[in-house]
């Protein structure tokens, strides 16, 4: 058995370049990010306080939390700036046709 299961999330044309969108997969909030035409997926809830990262703006490779400004690298999930000190999980993304699939670990 594989360690991750891929779930259909959104279509590629639903997310403009340098934008992010929240999707709920298996009850989990995931942010899908279009960084210069490449798609990434990361936990959507900021590790500092309750906010949807997908509501934030991209700053280089980082998504900035709209509430308090913590930045997370969308490729690695690393908490790059305060006030966040805990990284966010990232997920594998696959493109099939115009479908964006997100790989969540099997629990």
């Amino acid at each position: 058995m594989s360690d991750v299961t891929f779930h259909q999330a959104i279509k590629t044309d639903q997310l403009d370049e340098d934008e992010a969108l929240q999707v709920i997969i298996e009850g989990k909030e995931v942010a899908i990010i279009n960084l210069g035409g490449e798609f990434y997926a990361m936990d959507d809830i900021c590790s500092h306080a309750y906010a949807s990262m997908a509501d934030g703006y991209l700053e280089g490779e980082c998504l900035e939390c709209p509430l308090h400004g913590a930045q997370f690298n969308v490729k690695t999930g690393k908490a790059e700036t305060p006030p966040a000190t805990v990284d966010l999980a990232t997920y594998e993304v696959k493109i099939e046709g115009d479908d964006i699939l997100v790989g969540l670990p099997n629990s």
């Binding site: 509501d55 900035e64 709209p66 509430l67 305060p82 006030p83 000190t85 805990v86």
Partner: protein, 408 residues
């Protein structure tokens, strides 16, 4: 680097905590001594008047780092201890109990304390101020459907206490000396919006009055207003501002003027002593004036900059001030400190409580206030930094993204 040096930080709040952590993050290998007078690890205060007071969270959520992260930093923490004296020339400080500490560089991040009311009876049991974890927990115990809370001062703390009181079923009465809420921070129409929010949630607000005295036999029972009216109440919370803790610096001979005077690096009038946070008065190039800010973000970022400067880095601090509050589930945010403006632009829907209001002067954004729209508000900072001129009708058009206006 600097393995044989000691950098001491007085104050373990948002500023002191981030300063200590930054020294380590930047590779300082010497001794980092963090001294705080509260019995808690470094912590932030915004939740104390919000989630903690509501009972939605416990004090641990305020701690800046989980214990495991804190242990790794090898910061020597002394909590529940006061610094009684700083001697700049000798490079020493004294702790309660008489212990001497020799330091090479020092940061004073002592923040401030809640301003008290010089009224008779203000020392009665049941009269509170709100600044610390202990204050918040004590007030929370008294917020329930059987209590009446008198809130003195319709500033941010007072209004957040009123919001928490109502959510917990208590009766809330707010008195304010001025004629509107948050007079120093908000434009009149935003004060009105916030006033209406509180009235809709069952708060009684009385303007143009203050406290003559508090009365009660063993504990608070009633307050007498300056207009002669009497308000029966179980507790009172005084929210009339912050007094910066500058006494240590003053006694040490450092320059003080509405806070400890620092340069753009956080350096005081003594080259080896720095200050940051609520107690520091710094020159802000973006605002074109000196200012002392009482805000969470300023405490964090000014302290980070000052810690780097202590390590010899060429770095300066100036930010457009940003502030937020949460009341009855509404998120309120402010950007900038606009003093004058000639045009107000609303983007979004005031009635649906989701909008941002821009304050323009000759087409430049001087500041903004937002209700339930942190996204646009946060982007406003970039628009303000650009010094670009904007057209009111375009800002008001939600069909046009703000990024496009900035780029275009």
């Amino acid at each position: 680097m600097n393995e044989d040096q000691t950098f001491a930080i007085v104050g373990a709040g948002q500023a002191g905590g981030w300063a200590a952590k930054t020294l380590r993050d930047e590779g300082f290998g010497g001794r980092v001594l963090l001294i705080g007078d509260e019995n808690y690890p470094p912590h932030e205060r915004p939740p104390l008047s919000k989630e903690i007071l509501l009972g939605d969270a416990e004090k641990e959520t305020c701690f800046l780092w989980p214990p495991t992260v804190l242990n790794e930093t090898n910061i020597e923490m002394r909590t529940g201890i006061h610094v009684t004296e700083i001697k700049p020339e000798a490079h020493t400080l004294m702790l309660t109990g008489g212990e001497h500490v020799v330091w090479d560089k020092l940061m004073i991040a002592t923040g401030g304390r809640a301003t008290t009311l010089p009224a008779d009876g203000a020392d009665l049991d049941g009269v509170f101020t709100l600044r610390t974890i202990n204050d918040s927990e004590a007030i929370r115990e008294n917020l329930n459907e059987h209590t009446t809370v008198l809130i003195v001062g319709a500033g941010w703390i007072g209004l957040e206490v009123a919001s928490a009181a109502r959510k917990r079923g208590a009766k809330a009465i707010v008195i304010e000396r001025a004629d509107r809420v948050c007079e120093r921070a908000l434009a009149p129409d935003m004060s009105q919006w916030l006033h209406d929010l509180h009235v809709r949630n069952g708060v009684e607000i009385r303007y143009g009055v203050s406290i003559d005295c508090f009365e009660g036999d063993e504990k608070l029972e009633r307050a007498v207003m300056t207009d002669g009216n009497i308000i029966d109440c179980d507790i009172a919370v005084i929210g009339i501002g912050l007094t910066p803790n500058i006494e240590l610096a003053q006694a040490a001979g450092l320059e003080v003027n509405d806070g400890i005077v620092v340069n753009e690096q956080g350096q005081t009038s003594h080259p080896d002593i720095y200050a940051a946070g609520d107690n520091a008065n710094h020159p802000n190039a973006l605002l074109g004036r000196r200012i002392r800010l009482e805000s969470w973000e300023n405490a964090q970022n000014q302290a980070i900059c000052a810690a780097k400067a202590m390590l010899g880095q060429e770095i300066t601090y100036a930010e457009i001030p940003w502030f937020w509050s949460d009341q009855y589930g509404a998120n309120i945010q402010l950007m900038g400190l606009p003093e004058t403006w000639d045009e107000t632009v609303v983007r979004g829907n005031r009635d649906k409580a989701e909008f941002v209001e821009f304050y323009l002067k000759n087409g430049q954004i001087e500041g903004a206030a937002a209700i339930n729209n942190p996204r646009d508000l946060r982007f406003t900072r970039r628009m303000m930094m650009s010094n670009k001129k904007f057209i009111a009708s375009e800002l008001a058009d939600q069909g046009v993204k703000l990024q496009k206006l900035l780029k275009g």
